[in-house]
């Protein structure tokens, strides 16, 4: 049994008359949204260093980076590094030969599945088998989130046997709730008792000054 069979079976039962191609299409859209909005797919990417080089092109096969969380290195200060449009710019220090010997820079980032170049957007399944879209463990972790999201998308469609504005609104609320939980999980790094708020600074300069 493939990992996503459980999800497909749930949708087939809830939305009578839906085709597998349409489920795959809605699943792709939902997965893209949940990865970009809730940062559910997080990976640590190794970026090999070159002496005296501060810009590096970073790419992940089958995925694209949607949000960089953190950049770190054992000896190099990279606290002000910037990642934009596939390029990592190290700042404030420039890597020396000694830093290169200490190992790569680690970039922790949120990813989303990407369309391979040359794929036809008109296809129901533009990126090949569903199972390869995201890491295997995410299928079980995200089961409820994806199920709610796919049902919402399908039931909101006009003139379909399974269409229901009332149920679409219900699944939309469920989906948003699950997405918010996943987003918070990403923010606290799967740790409990993490404070995600701060006191206001004691002295805030008035805007009138």
């Amino acid at each position: 049994m493939a990992l996503q069979d459980r999800l497909f079976q749930e949708i087939r039962v809830t939305c009578p008359g839906v085709t597998d191609d349409l489920i795959a299409h809605a699943l792709w859209e939902t997965l893209d949204d949940v990865c970009r909005d809730a940062w559910v797919w997080r990976e640590t990417i190794e970026v090999p260093l070159t002496a005296d080089d501060v810009t590096y092109t970073v790419s992940v096969p089958g995925a694209e980076i949607v949000y960089p969380f953190e950049v770190s290195h054992t000896t190099l200060d990279v606290s002000q590094s910037v990642y934009e449009f596939g390029t990592l710019a190290l700042n404030p220090e420039v890597p020396s030969a000694a830093d290169v010997a200490e190992g790569p820079v680690y970039l922790v980032a949120a990813l989303a599945p990407s369309l391979p170049s040359g794929s036809d957007l008109g296809d129901a399944n533009p990126v090949g088998p569903v199972e390869g879209w995201i890491p295997r463990d995410l299928w079980s972790l995200l089961h409820q989130t994806l199920t709610c999201g796919v049902k919402e998308r399908l039931m909101a469609m006009p003139a379909k046997p399974w269409a229901s504005a009332q149920m679409a609104a219900y699944w939309h609320r469920c989906y948003r709730s699950h997405k918010a939980i996943e987003r918070r999980r990403a923010q606290i790094g799967n740790r409990e008792h993490v404070r995600t708020w701060n006191y206001q600074p004691f002295l805030v300069p008035s805007r009138r000054q």
Partner: protein, 115 residues
């Protein structure tokens, strides 16, 4: 009957039209045309069934063995359209009503659960 090919659709439509005798009332080419029209109508009502954006062309010269690519859940709807379309040529009032009923059945089967 799995309704996989053009020939299977034509044969099933003849069953409902009671046109299975040796001398046939409806030409096979006309029934194939009706099948082509049903696919075009299905594309209008349910574009998700043709998610790659193309509608298979079925014409009166299309060979019987040609496969018809559509989800099994909606194959009977195409038969109802074909039957309704063939009945439109009849001039009797009762046949006209029946034709409308078959076409309505086609539409409701595509867009609603209960038919």
């Amino acid at each position: 009957m799995a309704l996989d090919t053009v020939g299977a659709y034509v044969a099933q439509a003849r069953e409902l039209l009671q046109d299975t005798a040796g001398v046939q009332r409806y030409a096979a080419g006309s029934l194939k045309d009706a099948l082509g029209f049903s696919l075009m109508e299905a594309r209008r009502l349910r574009p998700d069934l043709f998610i790659d954006g193309t509608v298979q062309a079925v014409e009166n010269t299309t060979p019987d063995a040609t496969a018809v690519v559509i989800d099994p859940q909606y194959r009977m709807a195409l038969i109802y359209y074909m039957v309704g379309h063939m009945m439109l040529r009849d001039e009797e009032e009762s046949m006209q009503q029946l034709a409308r009923a078959y076409k309505a059945q086609f539409g409701s089967q595509l867009v609603s659960i209960a038919v």
